[in-house]
């Protein structure tokens, strides 16, 4: 097991900067997700750690060992880095059966037959594939192929496990259960995991820490709760979960809170919000509020902002509201049982946990 340290790593493909100034330490035993939209540089970062791409600048350490150094142009080949990796397409070798696939990393290391039998048996138990040793990949379901790939990545007891969107080819139900399974295996082995995904729910469920990336740059690093509740900027707020943005001007500041006059809403409408950073009165700001922090009422209430209910949609576990606030539409959620509001009626919204961000 080992820390992974990236120092000022960047990668250019021609003129395109895929990864820029990436510095991070991933602690031993930590589960870290690289999260971002496609083309954000997350897969390139992972492939630099694996050794499949050569960084344009910067250094990568696994444990105390320098595995990639662009100044001296020394790059340790992937096969010598002792890393386990699960690929998006699983990359289970179609011409080898389950046993041969999983045993391969041990075989190339010259492990004795007896030890191979033992270790492969053990890791197949771990991923619940016992009894399928003789099957060919074409006889396995997608989920089973996924487990073969995971077992193969773990069998040589690597110091580091890399996962490149491993669940994106599975159906929704299986994806959900595999999340917990992967997390469970990681906890039991205490292995360091770097997990690449574009699915924020996946990252939230599994990670100790999330690194949000966009256009090659790290946007925010933090625990899932921090990222969700205190997004560092508009991109992160927008990318993680659903959020409403309302534009306004800061009219007064009281400690860490401020009062904002909404811009596009008729009549002076004021809303209180936690200040994202130090801001001055008169500054233009963006208010960010999650749908679940907005309560929709049929009667006026103190501090409630009036609007008109455009449509309510029954989602089974909750009710989804779209409320017209001036020219804008605000999304809010409430309990599924609430049925006292009619489409087109006047409603009042109570905002809690509003974040005021620089414009």
């Amino acid at each position: 097991m080992a820390d992974v340290r990236l120092e000022n790593v960047s990668k250019k493909f021609g003129k395109v900067e895929a990864v820029a100034a990436f510095s991070e330490i991933i602690r031993e035993g930590e589960f870290v997700s690289l999260l971002g939209p496609s083309g954000c540089g997350k897969t390139t970062t992972l492939r630099i750690i694996a050794g499949f791409e050569r960084a344009t600048t910067g250094r990568v350490f696994i444990g105390t060992e320098l595995v990639s150094c662009s100044e001296t142009r020394t790059y340790k080949p992937p096969e010598d880095r002792n890393i386990g990796m699960v690929f998006q397409s699983y990359a289970v070798w179609p011409h080898m059966n389950v046993f041969a696939n999983v045993a391969y990393p041990l075989k190339v290391r010259g492990t004795s037959k007896k030890t191979i039998q033992e270790k492969v048996g053990h890791v197949l138990d771990l991923v619940h594939l016992e009894g399928l040793e003789k099957r060919l990949p074409s006889q396995l379901s997608g989920g089973q192929q996924q487990r073969v790939a995971l077992a193969r990545a773990l069998v040589a007891e690597p110091s580091l496990l890399l996962l490149d969107e491993p669940l994106s080819n599975l159906d929704a139900k299986l994806r959900e259960s595999m999340r917990f399974e992967i997390k469970d295996v990681q906890r039991r082995l205490g292995i360091t995991v770097i997990y690449v995904t574009h699915d924020q729910a996946e990252a939230m469920v599994m990670s100790d820490r999330i690194i949000v990336m966009d256009k090659g740059y790290v946007q925010q690093t933090g625990r899932p709760k921090d990222i969700y509740e205190s997004p560092a900027n508009r991109f992160v707020a927008d990318f993680i979960g659903l959020i409403n943005f309302l534009e306004g001007t800061l009219v007064s500041v009281e400690g860490s809170e401020g009062v904002v006059a909404l811009t596009d809403v008729p009549g002076p409408v004021h809303l209180k919000g936690r200040l994202h950073s130090e801001m001055k009165t008169g500054e233009r700001v963006v208010l960010a509020a999650r749908p679940e922090s907005i309560t929709v009422l049929s009667q006026p209430a103190p501090d409630a902002i009036p609007g008109r209910l455009v449509r309510k949609i029954y989602l089974g576990n909750e009710m989804d509201y779209r409320v017209a606030l001036g020219p804008q539409e605000v999304r809010a959620t409430g309990p599924a049982a609430a049925d006292d509001l009619a489409d087109g009626s006047d409603v009042w919204m109570v905002f809690t946990r509003v974040l005021a961000m620089p414009f």
Binding site: F13, T43, R47, A50, G51, F52, E53, P77, P78, E79, D80, R81, N82, I83, G84, M85, F87, Q88, S89, Y90, A91, V92, W93, P94, H95, Y104, P105, V108, R109, P137, S138, G142, Q145, A149, R152, A153, A156, L162, S168, N169
Partner: protein, 561 residues
Amino acid sequence: MGSIGRILNARNLVIGSALLFLVVFVLFPLVLLVLRSFLGTEGEISLQNYIAVYGKESNWDAVVTTLWVCGLTMFFSMIFATGLAWLVVRSNLPYRRQFRSLFFIPYVIPPYVGAIAWILLLTPGVGYINKILIESFGAEIPGPFDIYTIPGLVWVMTLFYYPLAFLNVASALEQMDNSLEEAARISGAHPLRVFWDITLPLVSPSFFAGGLLVFAASASAFGVPAMIGMPSRIYVLSTQVIQYVYMGTTSGMREATALSVVLMVIAVITMTLGNRLLSRKRYTLVGGKSARVLPVSLGRFRIAALIFSGLLGFLLVILPIGAIVVTSFIRVFGEPITLENLSLEHYAYILTFKTALEAFWNSLFLGIVAATLALFVASLIAYYRVKVKSPLARAADLIATVPYATPGTVIALALIIAFSGKYGLNLYNTFAILIVAYIVKYLAFSVRTVCASLEQIDLSLEEAAQISGASWMQSFRDIILPLVRPGLIAAWFLVFMTTFYELTMTILLYGPETLNLGVILFEMQTYSNQQAASVLSVLILVVVLGGNVLVSKITKGKITI
């Protein structure tokens, strides 16, 4: 309408006539050929012909030589093709795209032009390479190389038939999910081990299929073994069959028939096996986006590989074409290449030689007519096959693949037997018999190309046109035709070019009025008029290479021969 009326509707009538054409000009002659091989002198059914044929040592020799030459060609082609395919697809060889195109050029050159080139280079005593070795390196006269041998034959066949294997292995390598190899790297295997454990097993179906296709193609070849083998009495099945036909006797025809049935069986079996291997999807995989393909670093061998590839390109393409071009300008072959020995007199000779000019016009005429008719019939079959899903079209498609696998020599012989008047239709020595031969031989090829472009057109595209209010005619004109046009043009050119220089079938079917370029060239080569043969070769190369550039322009690189 009654049930007979339904079967006889216009749609079935059109595709039915295409099917009828195939039954008359493919099934009938080939079945007749096989049947005739089992008929004795008195018209009884017997193995007499086979006993007579295989009682002769010379015929056995032809069979054994064929198997040897084709086996060796297959073997060398497979090794050669795999190495080169890996280099141009997977390694970090500089200019690998350009090398890929370069290594594929021999496929476009008519193999008999390749044979002429290597005869110019490796004839004992006077071949350019032998001459250079004698004059500059003190090699003993007549020099170390002799093209007129079995190794010479295998050499030329390998150089000109290996692209079949190269194409298969290269595209298998390209389609392979790169992460399969990366998974092995990250498992701890070094690149060479990855190649051995993962890459090679995964491309093996294409590897063997490519080999079998090379075997089938070289067994069907006539031009190369005729030009290189016959002068030193090395006979393979195709040249032996021609020998018998040229005897012009009834017994000669009977032996030719029995021999060609064996040739057909060899070619059809290997070709079918190869195609089956290719279509068998043994390894179905979960598709996933594959990361950017990271070429395998050749390390310090990169420059060595570049030099090797450069030399190979020189050997495969530049040297043979150069030999032909130079020879076409030389006054006396065998004399040193000096300014006094250069002239345009052979071009002048060809341009004023009436027979050659007639042959040129015949080739052009035959090519245009055959390509147009083949395209017409192929479009019908393909349309009914893909869009209407007519069982008649399926049958037609199936029949069309038979002549594709059958050696040209056998098809020509079957057509002679069937259409020399004995069965009500006499096409002997006419343009018609040549056109029929070309169409049946290359029909499957056109059907494939047209089918491929039709299959790209999802039904929803037509449905979208219909729902937008377009009639069937409008949707055909505005949607289908523009989308298949490049495919149709490519199919036309590919048939035109191959028939333009056709030799294998023409050599058996031509008459005094229907000589083509291939036959004239063959005769000039046989009578050792090297320069005139070179002039004609240059002419053919210009048409063929130019045509290919045109096709790949039209189809944006998607289709070359």
